[in-house]
């Protein structure tokens, strides 16, 4: 189904351009059959504040999806409208935004938010209002334990950690590692889980240090780690911290392998760290290296088409966050199609749990009553920075 839609891309792009011209002309009207009611879908994303680099691509992807749907057949012939709210990267704003979307805009389903804290703040509202929430955040605690109305698109931190431990144990064959993590929710959550699971892989954590999200010099923590017998360093955080760490390690002539998190899975890391990024290995979705997906498969096609449409519309490369946002939109609209309704929250929620082998950009989704994470660790690969670009790291 997805493929069918996406084959029309060049045509769609033209329509998009025409529509955009109309919009700019101040008309604001879209060339879609309006006899049927509009299906509204809410979205709360971090468009400003520290998590904005996550929320912005998600927003772009959703707006792209909206255009694609409405220039095609919509959802069962209904026009789709994403109502996007900004949570300013603050949990209380996220909660206020979802309350407004549900109470005032009467949306049957909500997408978001971009970060774990904001999502956890939204979850109680989704639960008590019985409205499905499909989030774009990776924190393990969001779906563990499973809450009936909370779903997730991106690969979880757990999956990334599994991948990293597997790499440390089987490819690098190290026994002692150091962790250096951002003191925020993402970094601390990852470090906690890593420390918990490492012993099972026969790996000992010899040092665990943290840094503030806006810190720019981590040499103190690194010299501490240098003084231990760590054979590798795992850095858990999002830009720009990990880039500073790579540069500091180069400055201190630390030669031990640098293993990053999926938080650095965009090209910014390479741009910021420069030559210091060479040899850094991190887990990420396969979409970053489409060649790693089987040629001719439905998934590969979806990724290529999405990348092309995104590039055409925004003149930017796709990143993992764009994929999360796009997939969240796809999952909700797919559930609407399956349930045959664009208004009944309960039916949409039930339909999400029925989704099976559904091809998105991040991977192939299968939900169930017990599993609200659509993806699995198999959808991730390890990527190495080589000559200023990404290559798949195969063991």
């Amino acid at each position: 189904m997805l493929r069918k839609r996406i084959h029309k891309i060049p045509l769609l792009v033209m329509c998009v351009l025409i529509a955009a011209t109309l919009v700019i002309a101040g008309c604001g009207e879209k060339t879609v059959d309006t006899s049927k009611s509009v299906f509204k879908i809410g979205a709360v994303l971090s468009l400003t504040g520290p998590a904005a680099p996550l929320g912005e691509p998600e927003q772009r992807a959703l707006m792209l999806l909206e255009e694609e749907l409405n220039d095609g057949e919509g959802v069962d012939g209904h026009k789709v409208e994403f109502i996007i709210e900004d949570d300013e990267s603050q949990p209380e704003k996220a909660k206020a935004a979802i309350t407004k979307l549900i109470n005032q805009e009467k949306v049957p389903a909500v997408i978001g938010s971009s970060s774990t804290g904001a999502t956890l703040a939204m979850a109680p509202v989704a639960e008590s209002s019985k409205v499905p929430l499909v989030c774009c955040a990776a924190g393990t605690k969001i779906t563990d334990p499973v809450m009936p109305y909370v779903f997730r698109t991106p690969p979880t931190d757990s999956m990334a950690i599994e991948k990293v431990l597997d790499y440390l144990e089987n490819s690098l064959k190290v026994e002692k590692i150091a962790i250096l993590h951002d003191a925020n929710a993402f970094g601390t959550g990852g470090a906690d889980e890593l420390s918990q699971k490492a012993p099972d892989a026969g790996i000992e954590i010899v040092a665990r240090e943290s840094y503030g999200s806006t810190d720019t010099d981590m040499t103190a923590q690194l010299t501490k780690i240098k003084g231990t017998d760590a054979e590798a360093i795992v850095v858990w955080g999002t830009n720009p911290g990990p880039a500073s760490i790579a540069k500091n390690m180069q400055q201190l002539a630390m030669e031990i392998p640098y293993v990053g998190s999926h938080g650095i899975a965009n090209k910014k890391f390479i741009e910021l760290a420069g030559t210091a990024s060479e040899g850094v290995v991190f887990p990420a979705g396969k979409l970053l290296i489409p060649e790693s997906i089987e040629e001719g498969s439905e998934w590969r096609q979806a990724v290529d088409d999405f990348a092309q449409a995104y590039e055409d519309k925004y003149n930017m490369e796709i990143d993992t966050f764009a994929a999360h946002g796009y997939d969240a939109g796809l999952i909700v609209t797919e559930a609407m199609k399956m349930a045959g309704t664009g208004t009944d929250s309960q039916a949409i929620r039930d339909a999400i749990e029925e989704i099976e082998e559904f091809v998105g950009i991040d991977g192939i989704y299968t939900f169930s009553a017990k599993n609200h994470d659509g993806l699995s660790a198999d959808d991730l690969i390890m990527i190495e920075v080589k000559d200023g670009d990404w290559v798949e790291k195969t063991s």
Binding site: D86, E105, A185
Partner: protein, 379 residues
């Protein structure tokens, strides 16, 4: 203008001015409370897809912040002591009740709120006694530092506070959200119920504050503000008064924070950072320092402002859809409006409004007089 003043003096001669002011405050309080409690009625009349705001939800936020801002106004506006760390007390209130109620499911939530207030009062006293010796920007810096330390402790004392993951998910507990506030078996589990609770309590706090500022304590506070040395010389125990107000404001902030926790049902350190402290002080100044009503006006203005800005494109027909998701512009507009407010109403919105009202009244009188004069001439 002169005429007005004279007539006011006449009345004041008959009645003690303080009493009169107090009575005026009571009347305003009754009016304002009545007006606010009616908000859900007309919010209900305005459908959501027309105004694109959740007025009741925003008003709950405003009510919660009102506690903090009333306390902060007593401290900043009346006693003249600046604090850039009140989000810490807000957080202490929230964390105390959240931890107690999530760890011990039998723990009554209202007792959790009171515990939060008590803990914040104690901590406020412990840090207030030494820190209040500082003055001006140095006091601001010290309170800012205390606020930052509190946020770091919220994030780092993982066993107690659930760290950056927050409560309840970061704690090893069975509950999946912080329980709703419950008083004598009545659950305040919807925005509407909380709205009434919060604003009735806010009215009570306001009543108490009016009495405080009109009392001897209030007079010595104002003396403190205008000149600490003079107040000292007049026999006001300045350091004791300062500490008292500081503790009171800490307790009020904690009270707001504790209700905030039961309203949010989930908390993490991000809700108690420096920018929140700055927001509180901004509410005080934008509304009107040293004017309790000003504080309330400041809270309501600044809580509604972002929502109004975000709803703007929906209100104006024919806005290109590219502007619909315009979070960048909305923050710019927010910053610009903040500047404009202070520039045009440096004494606060409340004073600005009453000045405008007085101007309007005068103008009206002038026009009336002129019209009367013309009529007279005509005859």
């Amino acid at each position: 203008m002169a005429g007005r003043k004279a007539s006011r003096c006449d009345v004041e001669r008959k009645e003690e001015p303080l009493k009169r002011a107090q009575r005026r405050d009571y009347r305003t309080l009754a009016l304002v409370t009545g007006f606010i409690l009616l908000v859900p009625a007309w919010a209900w009349l305005l459908p959501g897809d027309v105004i694109h705001m959740d007025i009741v939800n925003i008003m709950v936020f405003a009510g919660i912040y009102t506690f903090v801002v009333i306390g902060l106004n007593l401290l900043v506006g009346y006693a003249g002591q600046i604090s850039l760390g009140h989000a810490a007390f807000f957080g202490i209130g929230a964390y105390t009740t959240a931890i107690l109620c999530c760890r011990f499911t039998w723990f009554p939530t209202w007792l959790g709120v009171l515990a939060g207030v008590a803990v914040a009062g104690l901590i406020g006293w412990l840090v207030g006694v030494p820190v209040l010796r500082l003055k001006g920007h140095y006091l601001a810096m010290a309170t800012l530092g205390l606020g930052e330390i509190a946020v770091i402790l919220f994030a780092e004392l993982k066993g107690l506070t659930g760290g950056t993951i927050g409560i309840p998910q970061g704690l090893n507990v069975k509950v999946s959200q912080i329980p709703a506030l419950s008083i004598f078996g009545f659950d305040f589990d919807t925005d509407l119920k909380l709205f009434f609770l919060v604003w009735v309590l806010a009215a009570v706090v306001m009543l108490l504050s009016i009495n405080i500022i009109r009392s001897r304590v209030g007079r010595s506070l104002r003396a403190l503000h205008s000149s600490e040395v003079a107040a000292d010389a007049m026999g006001v125990d300045t350091s004791r008064q300062k500490t008292r107000v500081f503790v009171l404001s800490a307790m009020l902030a904690a009270f707001g924070g504790a209700i905030f926790a039961h309203f949010q049902r989930y908390i993490n350190p991000e809700s108690f950072v420096l920018s929140v402290s700055i927001l509180f002080i901004t509410m005080v100044v934008v509304g009107g320092m040293g004017n309790l009503w000003g504080g309330v006006v400041g809270v309501i203005t600044l809580t509604f402002l972002p929502s109004i800005i975000q709803a703007l494109p929906y209100w104006i027909p024919g806005v290109p859809s590219g502007l619909m998701n315009f979070s960048n512009y909305s923050l710019m507009l927010y910053g610009a409006l903040l500047v404009v407010f202070v520039m045009f109403m440096p004494q606060g919105i409340a004073a600005g409004l009453s000045k405008a009202a007085a101007y309007g009244e005068n103008r009206f009188k002038q026009l009336r007089d002129r019209a009367g004069a013309r009529k007279y001439e005509g005859h």
